[in-house]
C-alpha cells in the first residue's frame, strides 16, 4: 500500500474536518475489513485515513437505531433486530468479519467486482475505455439496472433488508447532520467521477434508524458455501399483513444490480393477496420481469427469483 497519514479524531465533527471534498484523498476507517484490502491492493490510495475508533456515540444497537460502527457481532447479539436484518447478518459467516466488520462499513463497502478489484476502476474499463464486464467474466455481475456503464453489483447484504424495513440513515458533513431514506444512499454511477453511493467525500455515515411498524420480514440468500461467501443473489421482504392478506409489501433484491434493487412490480403483485407458493412465485417473476442478463449470468435471474419467492414464504412463516 501507499504511505498515508493516519488520524483518529474524537468526534464526528473533527472527522468531517479531516476528510476532503474530493474522492480519493481521504478514506474513513471503521472495521477495516474492506478498506485494508483496498489499500493493500492499491485500489484505494488515499493521502489520509481517518479512523472512527475514538468517536463515541456511533456504536450501539436498539430497536430504533443501529450505530454506524456497531459490529456485525453486536447486531447479531441484539434481540431487537428485525428478522430480515438478522437473517442477512447471519449470512456474514466469517467470525473475523463479524467481530471487526461494522454495519456502516457493510453498507458502504466497495463492490466486489473483480474488474474493480483488479484495478480497472469502478466501471471496469480497459486502457482504451472499453467496458470489460459485458463481454467478459460477468457471472457475478448485474442482471438488472445494467444498461451500463455500471455492471457491478451492490455488495451489501444488510441494505436490502434495511430498505425493506424503511430504514433511514443519518449522515454528517460540513453542513451538519442530514437524514434520508437508506434507499437514497445508493446510486448507479453514470461516470468515473461518481461512486455507488450518494455520500459526499466529506460526509460520515453515523447511524441507521428503523421506524418499527411491525412488518413481518425475512431475507433469503442463494449462496454456494457456508464459509464466508458472497450471495449469488438475495432478497429481503417486509410484509404488512391484515389477517392473512398482504396489505402492503416491500421487496428489495441484493447482489443483482449496482444498487439494492427495490421491485415495485413485486410489491404490487403481493398487495391484497394471501401469501402462497403461487403468489410468492408470481411476485418473484414480477420482480425479475425487467431483468436483462449479460452473456454469462442468465442463471442469476432464476437465482434471484428463488430468493424473492423464498424470502416471501419465509416472512409469511
Amino acid at each position: 500500500m501507499e504511505a498515508f497519514e493516519y488520524a483518529a479524531p474524537n468526534s464526528v465533527k473533527e472527522a468531517v474536518g479531516l476528510l476532503s471534498s474530493n474522492w480519493g484523498e481521504a478514506d474513513v476507517l471503521a472495521g477495516g475489513t474492506d478498506l485494508l484490502s483496498l489499500l493493500k491492493e492499491g485500489v484505494h490510495t488515499p493521502k489520509r485515513v481517518v479512523s472512527l475508533k475514538n468517536v463515541s456515540g456511533l456504536k450501539g444497537v436498539s430497536a430504533s437505531r443501529i450505530g454506524a460502527t456497531a459490529t456485525i457481532a453486536e447486531l447479531l447479539g441484539s434481540s431487537s433486530v428485525p428478522a430480515a436484518v438478522r437473517q442477512a447478518a447471519e449470512g456474514i459467516t466469517s467470525p473475523q468479519m463479524r467481530a471487526m466488520g461494522t454495519v456502516g462499513g457493510e453498507l458502504l463497502q466497495r463492490p466486489r467486482c473483480w474488474y474493480f478489484r483488479n484495478g480497472y476502476g469502478l466501471l471496469g474499463k480497459d486502457a482504451k475505455g472499453k467496458s470489460l464486464a459485458p463481454n467478459g467474466e460477468n457471472q457475478y455481475h448485474a442482471i438488472i439496472g445494467n444498461k451500463g456503464p455500471a455492471y457491478f453489483v451492490s455488495a451489501s447484504s444488510l441494505a436490502p433488508a434495511l430498505i425493506a424495513l424503511e430504514a433511514t440513515v443519518t449522515v454528517t458533513g460540513p453542513d451538519g447532520e442530514d437524514e434520508m431514506p437508506l434507499e437514497k444512499l445508493f446510486q448507479t454511477p453514470s461516470s468515473d467521477s461518481q461512486r455507488e453511493n450518494t455520500l459526499q467525500p466529506n460526509q460520515v455515515l453515523t447511524g441507521i434508524n428503523l421506524p418499527g411498524g411491525g412488518a413481518r420480514s425475512a431475507t433469503y440468500e442463494v449462496r454456494q458455501r457456508q464459509l464466508m461467501d458472497w450471495p449469488l443473489a438475495s432478497a429481503s421482504v417486509a410484509l404488512k399483513m391484515s389477517g392473512d392478506t398482504v396489505e402492503s409489501a416491500r421487496v428489495v433484491l441484493g447482489h443483482v444490480a449496482p444498487t439494492p434493487w427495490r421491485s415495485s412490480d413485486a410489491e404490487s403483485a403481493l398487495a391484497g393477496k394471501a401469501v402462497s407458493e403461487d403468489t410468492a412465485m408470481a411476485a418473484a417473476k414480477a420482480a425479475l420481469s425487467a431483468a436483462t442478463p449479460l452473456s454469462r449470468n442468465k442463471h442469476k435471474v432464476q437465482l434471484a427469483r428463488v430468493a424473492v419467492k423464498r424470502a416471501i414464504l419465509r416472512a409469511a412463516g
Binding site: 472499453k130 463481454n135 467478459g136 467474466e137 458455501r225 464459509l227 442463471h299 432464476q302 428463488v306
Partner: protein, 719 residues
C-alpha cells in the same frame, strides 16, 4: 526370500499400524515450528517481485533507477531482460531487496517496465477458437474403435471436462537465502525436495558468469517443516535464484515469499482437461470401446499426454489429444497429475453409459473391473464403499425423486503407483541410550517425521517417544524428492534397514553378557535386548547402550538395497462414493457424505494415513464444486487470484467424511505411497452423484449452479 530386514508380522508389531498423532503437531499448532516464512536471520532483507501486467508482451525498456534511488533499497536483480517475452500476467521480471517489506513494495511500484504488447489467448475450453494455439499431442489407437462402436449394443456420446485449478498451498512458495561466504550458502526453503534444491540453485547460478562458482555441496538446504506443496514445490524457482543473487550482492540474508495472489498466478496450476467421448458396450454391460478427442492447457508450454481411458481399458480404444498453448500461469504437478481430470472424463462417460444400459453403476463398474489391472481389489473396495455409503438404500434411477431438493449418489475408481524413491538413512545409537534417524528427506505436512520415528521405534523395540528423527536438512544422508507418493516407501525402507543394522551392532556388544554366541540369538523386545530362546536372559536398552562406553553406533540403510528384501511396493486401487443434495431451483449442490476406501499396502501410522485421505477428499470436494481459475480474455488478467472468488471449502461445506483403509488385506506387499491416490476420485464421484440426483449431466467440474440449471433446462426442467 526372507531377509532380516523384513517387516515384522502383524502379531509382532507393537508400533507399526497404530494411530500415532504427528510428533510435531503441538509445535505447529503453537507456532513454534519454524517454516521458511518464519526465518528472520540477523540483518534480513525482504525481497519483492516486479511482475508483468500483460498476458503476452515483449519487454522494450527497463528503468530500475526510481526503485534503486529509494532509501532502504539494497539490491535489484533482473529475472527477465529487454527483448525477453513475458507470457502471462504475473510473470516474474525482477526482484528487489530492501530493509523492510514496505520499502520493497514501494520500490516495486517505482520500477518501470515498458512493453510491446502482443496478442494473447487465455481460454481453451472452446477449442474451436484456439486457432494456431493448438499443438498436436498424443494419438493412439488399439483394436478397431470405429467397428466396435458400430457393433456395440449400446453407445453413448458426451462432453466432459475439468477446469484448471491451482495448488493453494497453505504456506506460499519461497525461500530465505543467505550467501555468507564464497562457498557457503544456506537456503531455508519451502520445498518438497531438500536434496534437489542445492543442485538446482547451483545450476541456475552457474548461468551467471559474474558469480563465483558454487557446487551443490556448498549449499545447505533446511526445511524442518513445510506448509504443503502438492507437486508444485520441487524447484528453487526464479524467486529463489533472485534471493540468492540479492544475498550475494548485499552480503545479507534475503527472504522472498510469494503473496497469495502471486502464489495463485505464478507458482503452478493443474491443467484443465476436456474431451468429447464415445463409448460402447454389450447388452450385458461389458465395455467394448472408448474413443476420445481431448484437449488441455498447461499454459504456454506443452502439456503431458492424458491418462485416457482411465483405469478401465476396453480392447478397442482411440485417443486423439491436443494441447492448447495459452497465456496463463504454467502447469506444475498436482496430486496425481492428469488422473483426477481423466477420471472425470472416463468415469462420468461410463456412468452415463451405465444409465443407457439401465444398469446400476455399482454393477457396471464391478462387471468391468475385469478390464482393470486389479479386478479383485476394485470389486472388494466397491462392495465396501457401497456398504459404508448405504448405496443400495440411496441409489435410484437418475433423476427419480420429487421436491425441490434431490439426493443422489455417485462413484469413481482410481489407481496410482506409489513406488519407493531412493533414500538413505543413518541410525545413530549413543551410549546414553538415545537413538536417532538422520535423513535428508522432508516432511511436507504428510507426517513423514512421525512415520520414520515409528519405524525406528518398532525396530529398536522402544516407545516412539524415546527415538529422535533429524530430517529436513541437506547435511543428512540424501533422500528423494517428495513427489508421486514415493516418500513413505522410500524412507520407511531406508530407516528400517539402518535401524536393523544399528541394532545388530548393539546386539553384538551385549552378546557376551547375555551368553549368546552371535547377534542372531538376540532380539529386541519391549525396551530390552534378550535371548530369543530364553527371554528371561535380558538387558535393558539403556544398560545395553552404556556398554558402548565412548563408542557411537552409526549405521546406514539404503533404498533400494539388492540384499535388503522387499519392504515397499507400487500400485494401488481405491474407490470413492459421494452422496449429495441438489437444490433443483438454484442448482446449489450440498455435500452430505463421502466415502473413501483405499489400499496402500502396509500402513505405518493409521491416523496419518487416514488424515491423508481426509485431506484429499476436502481438496477434491473444492475442485468438484467451486474451485476454478478464471482468466479474462479481453484483459488477459487472472481475475480471481485471491481467496474470495477462488473458492475453497470451509468446515461447514464438506459434509460427513468416512475413510476406510484396507488394513490387514494387502500388508504383505509392504509400504506403498498414499499422497496421490485418494485425491483422484472426488470430482468424478461428486459429478456422478449430481447426475444421479438430477438426471442430467453437468459436463464439466466444478459443478456450479449456472451449469446445473443449464443442464436441467436442457433436459426440460425439474421433472
Amino acid at each position: 526370500m526372507a531377509t532380516k530386514y523384513d517387516w515384522p508380522s502383524a502379531a509382532d508389531r507393537s508400533v507399526i499400524g497404530r494411530s500415532v498423532s504427528r510428533l510435531d503437531g503441538a509445535e505447529k499448532a503453537t507456532g513454534r515450528a519454524k517454516y521458511a516464512y518464519d526465518r528472520n536471520p540477523e540483518g534480513l532483507l525482504v525481497g519483492r517481485l516486479v511482475t508483468s501486467p500483460h498476458a503476452n508482451a515483449r519487454i522494450t525498456r527497463i528503468d530500475a533507477s526510481g526503485a534503486e534511488r529509494l532509501k532502504g533499497v539494497r539490491g535489484v536483480v533482473l529475472i527477465k531482460d529487454i527483448g525477453d517475452e513475458v507470457q502471462w500476467t504475473g510473470a516474474e521480471i525482477a526482484a528487489i531487496a530492501a530493509d523492510t517489506e514496505e520499502i520493497a513494495r514501494d520500490a516495486v511500484r517505482k520500477f518501470k517496465v515498458e512493453y510491446e504488447v502482443l496478442s494473447h489467448l487465455v481460454k481453451e475450453e472452446d477449442v474451436e477458437k484456439a486457432g494456431n494455439r493448438v499443438v498436436p499431442g498424443q494419438e493412439n489407437t488399439e483394436g478397431d474403435p470405429s467397428k466396435a462402436l458400430q457393433e456395440a449394443d449400446v453407445t453413448h456420446e458426451g462432453y466432459y471436462g475439468a477446469a484448471t485449478i491451482t495448488h493453494c498451498c497453505m504456506e506460499p512458495h519461497g525461500n530465505t537465502v543467505h550467501w555468507k561466504g564464497e562457498k557457503d550458502i544456506t537456503v531455508w526453503a519451502s520445498t518438497q525436495a531438500v536434496g534437489r534444491i542445492g543442485a538446482d540453485l547451483a545450476k541456475n547460478l552457474a548461468a551467471d558468469p559474474s558469480l563465483p562458482k558454487v557446487s551443490p555441496s556448498d549449499i545447505r538446504v533446511i526445511t524442518p517443516v513445510m506448509g504443503g506443496g502438492f507437486g508444485s514445490k520441487f524447484n528453487i524457482d526464479s524467486w529463489g535464484v533472485a534471493a540468492a543473487k540479492l544475498s550475494r550482492m548485499t552480503g545479507r540474508p534475503v527472504k522472498i515469499m510469494l503473496d497469495r495472489d502471486e502464489e495463485l498466478q505464478m507458482a503452478g496450476a493443474r491443467p484443465s482437461y476436456f474431451g468429447n467421448v464415445k463409448v460402447g458396450a454389450k447388452k450385458d454391460g461389458t465395455l467394448t470401446v472408448f474413443d476420445v478427442e481431448s484437449w488441455a492447457t498447461s499454459g504456454v508450454g506443452r502439456g503431458g499426454n492424458p491418462a485416457l481411458p482411465y483405469v478401465i481399458e476396453p480392447p478397442n480404444q482411440r485417443v486423439r489429444h491436443v494441447n492448447v498453448a495459452t497465456n496463463t500461469g504454467p502447469a506444475r504437478a498436482w496430486r496425481a497429475p492428469r488422473h483426477p481430470q481423466c477420471a472425470v472424463i472416463t468415469h462420468c462417460a461410463l456412468t452415463d453409459l451405465a444409465h443407457k444400459l439401465d444398469m446400476d453403476p455399482v454393477d457396471f463398474f464391478k462387471k468391468n473391473a475385469d478390464l482393470t489391472a486389479r479386478p479383485d481389489v476394485y470389486r472388494t473396495e466397491i462392495d465396501k464403499a457401497a456398504e459404508l455409503i448405504d448405496w443400495k438404500e440411496k441409489y435410484h434411477k437418475p433423476g427419480e425423486g420429487s421436491g425441490h431438493v434431490r439426493r443422489g449418489v455417485g462413484l469413481s475408481i482410481h489407481t496410482w503407483g506409489g513406488r519407493p524413491h531412493d533414500s538413505q538413512c543413518r541410525v545413530v545409537i549413543e551410549p546414553d541410550g538415545s537413538a536417532s534417524a538422520e535423513i535428508g528427506s522432508q516432511d511436507i505436512g504428510t507426517g513423514t517425521r512421525t512415520v520414520i520415528a515409528m519405524v525406528l521405534a518398532e525396530t529398536l523395540a522402544l516407545p516412539v517417544s524415546r527415538v529422535n528423527v533429524k530430517m529436513g536438512d541437506s547435511s543428512f544422508p540424501p533422500s528423494g524428492a517428495s513427489g508421486g507418493s514415493t516418500t513413505v516407501g522410500g524412507v520407511s525402507s531406508s530407516t528400517r534397514r539402518a535401524a536393523v543394522n544399528a541394532l545388530e551392532k548393539l546386539k553384538e556388544k551385549v552378546a557376551g553378557d547375555l551368553g549368546a554366541s552371535s547377534a542372531d540369538e538376540i532380539e529386541a523386545k519391549d525396551g530390552y535386548l534378550r535371548l530369543k530362546e530364553n527371554p528371561k536372559k535380558r538387558i535393558a536398552w539403556t544398560a545395553a547402550c552404556r556398554k558402548l562406553s565412548t563408542e557411537t553406533i552409526s549405521e546406514m540403510g539404503n533404498q533400494p538395497d539388492r540384499d535388503g528384501g522387499k519392504l515397499a511396493d507400487s500400485g494401488v486401487g481405491g474407490v470413492q462414493m459421494a452422496d449429495v443434495s441438489v437444490d433443483m431451483e438454484t442448482g446449489i449442490v450440498t455435500m452430505n457424505k463421502m466415502v473413501a476406501v483405499q489400499d496402500c499396502g502396509l500402513i505405518i501410522d493409521l491416523k496419518l494415513a487416514e488424515s491423508q485421505v481426509y485431506g484429499s477428499l476436502i481438496m477434491g470436494i473444492c475442485s468438484a464444486l467451486w474451485e476454478e481459475r478464471v482468466y479474462d480474455q479481453m484483459s488477459g488478467v487472472y481475475l480471481n487470484a485471491d481467496m474470495e472468488f477462488y473458492k475453497l471449502a470451509g468446515i461447514g461445506d464438506i459434509g460427513e467424511l468416512v475413510v476406510h483403509m484396507m488394513t490387514g488385506v494387502y500388508d504383505d506387499r509392504g509400504v506403498i505411497g498414499l499422497g496421490e491416490p485418494p485425491a483422484i476420485s472426488p470430482m468424478a464421484a461428486i459429478s456422478n452423484a449430481v447426475f444421479n440426483a438430477i438426471g442430467a449431466r453437468v459436463p464439466t467440474v466444478p459443478v456450479t449452479p449456472d451449469k446445473v440449471l443449464a443442464a436441467l433446462e436442457k433436459k426440460g426442467g425439474m421433472a
